[in-house]
């Protein structure tokens, strides 16, 4: 390649088009990317090291910060790892509550990312509305857990506290409002908008083979017709008790992934309604004794759950001590954000680079850690 025909662009970290503090350095010719590489690591805090330095219980405060878009999955997967190694049973009501929290988190994450995607193609109205809608869910979180973003609510052995019935009613009201008012608005402004279709259809295509080969899951795979959902395949929490569908599409492009986000939210609403209807009574927490002295036997476990962007896994090792021996985080977008940028971004038009980055749900803190 003649060097003088190439132009280098630093797409991030300080660029309105990138998702978070993350960079893509790409070279382009004319208007097409010819080579690209990820410039990651701006958010590295050494979580895995810090977790080795903290008590089991203290880490529940640390884990949500790994992925700020969807913090609850971290709490959940951490608790699952702890319970798997320690072979701890969780009360059924806690399972239900966990699922409710996770689904609420999924909705807020999806609506936020739809807003972000819309902003990437210049539809700011949807971004504003989406962020507003998300705030209603954060209000519910605040009522349940006392915090807007980092809840520290799901913890080993169950959840921190029970949810009142009135709160359940509020959740149900909110679900009605979302379904009847917010989503139709979204449908009209975004999903029925010919321009949005034009910007997303056929863009940022990742095929099924490519996705499987690099280990991308979630919407990337489901947009290729593979109904892969860990909630169905390896049910955790209360997901074996609810009925829902896994939405799939066939084209593997940005448009399909965004439609999956929308359909996922509708499924989540369905799940939440079922969970609230069927929630059993009982305790919400197994007694594990003094929190500062939590100990589990030596062992290891790879636990994973379905985040909105795909498989989210922790590999946790305990040496029988007061602190974890090793925790390794497998973020859902790790393969895309590091490997996928180099392999699949070239050939994309520069106008579609933000579409690429945003529709694939790249969340840098989960691979910077």
């Amino acid at each position: 390649m003649d060097k003088s025909t190439q132009t280098e662009i630093f797409f991030g970290p300080n660029h309105p088009g990138v998702p978070g503090n993350y960079g893509i350095i790409y070279e382009f010719e004319g208007d097409t990317v010819t080579s690209a590489k990820a410039n990651a690591g701006h958010l590295h805090r050494g979580f895995e090291k810090l977790m080795e330095e903290r008590l089991w219980i203290k880490n529940t405060a640390l884990v949500p910060r790994i992925c700020v878009e969807e913090p609850d999955i971290n709490e959940m997967v951490y608790a699952m790892g702890f319970e798997a190694i320690g072979e701890i049973e969780v009360p059924r009501r806690a399972d239900y509550i966990r699922s409710i929290i996770l689904e609420l988190a999924r909705i807020q994450g999806h609506i936020f990312s739809i807003g972000g995607n819309a902003a990437g193609i210049g539809q700011y109205t949807v971004m504003h509305w989406g962020t507003l809608t998300r705030d209603y869910i954060l209000d519910i979180f605040e009522e349940i857990t006392g915090a807007r973003v980092y809840h520290i609510y799901i913890r080993p052995g169950g959840v921190r506290q029970d949810i009142e019935d009135e709160t359940f009613d509020k959740i149900l009201d909110l679900m009605d409002e979302l379904e009847n008012e917010r989503f139709p608005d979204l449908e009209k402004t975004l999903f029925e908008n010919p321009n949005a279709q034009k910007r997303w259809q056929g863009k940022a295509v990742i095929t099924k083979e490519e996705a499987v080969e690099m280990g991308a899951t979630g919407p990337v795979l489901r947009a290729n017709g593979v109904p892969h959902d860990l909630r169905k395949m390896m049910p955790y929490a209360a997901y074996d008790d609810v009925e829902f569908e896994v939405p799939t599409y066939e084209n593997g492009d940005a448009w399909d992934r965004i439609k999956i986000a929308r359909d996922d939210m509708l499924q989540s609403i369905k799940i939440i309604r079922q969970l609230i209807q069927n929630i059993p009574d009982g305790p919400v927490q197994t007694d594990l004794g003094n929190g500062l002295k939590y100990k589990i036997p030596k062992g290891d476990a790879y636990v994973k759950i379905e985040s909105k962007r795909g498989e989210y896994g922790y590999y946790m090792v305990s040496d029988g001590g007061l602190k974890p021996y090793r925790v390794h985080v497998r973020g859902a977008s790790t393969p895309l954000g590091l490997y996928g940028v180099r392999e699949f971004l070239p050939g994309t038009r520069i106008a579609d680079v933000p579409v690429w980055a945003k529709s694939l749900g790249i969340c840098p803190p989960e691979f910077d850690r």
């Binding site: 990820a38 990651a40 690591g41 590295h44 050494g46 895995e48 090291k49 810090l50 330095e53 798997a84 499987v212 080969e213 690099m214 280990g215 899951t217 593979v226 892969h228 395949m233 390896m234 290891d300 476990a301 790879y302 994973k304 498989e311 896994g313 590999y315 090792v317 021996y325 090793r326 390794h328 497998r330 790790t334 393969p335 590091l338 490997y339 392999e343 910077d368 850690r369």
Partner: protein
Amino acid sequence: MRNEKELLELINVHLEPQAVEIKREQNVSVELAPKNLIQALSFLKSHSYQHLSTISCVDWLEEGAFELVYHLFSYDDYINISLKTRIKREPGIFQTAKEIWPVAEFYERDIHEFFGVEFKGNDNLEEMILENWQHLPPMRKDFDTREFVNDQYEWRDYNGQKHTD
């Protein structure tokens, strides 16, 4: 669609495992000798274990070993396998799995950066997350982050009280 037991049989027959274990439902752990591991990966990949979740590394300082754990998943069996192998901590050299899963290049790069493990055949091992890191790879157990922080940064002074644990 195999269940866990059938899977373990398959592994026992073909892969010479050092130890196998059904951890819990849908989760299997297999320990292998380092020399068998790459072969085992390609064997399992051709038996529907196409999804490489990640590669984890654990630093067993006292035993003088790095444990590499390859997490595989099958879309047919819905079973998660953790393939484990232990390599010597010094010099910490292993084979790359890049030929089987190209994406492994980046997982290995990550492990190299944080543990200092070399992967033969992977020539893309430069710094990715850290920048100008001059010290021990930070995830090694003999790297003490608190000591490092005390040396490198200054604590804010709260009327003589230091910010501590």
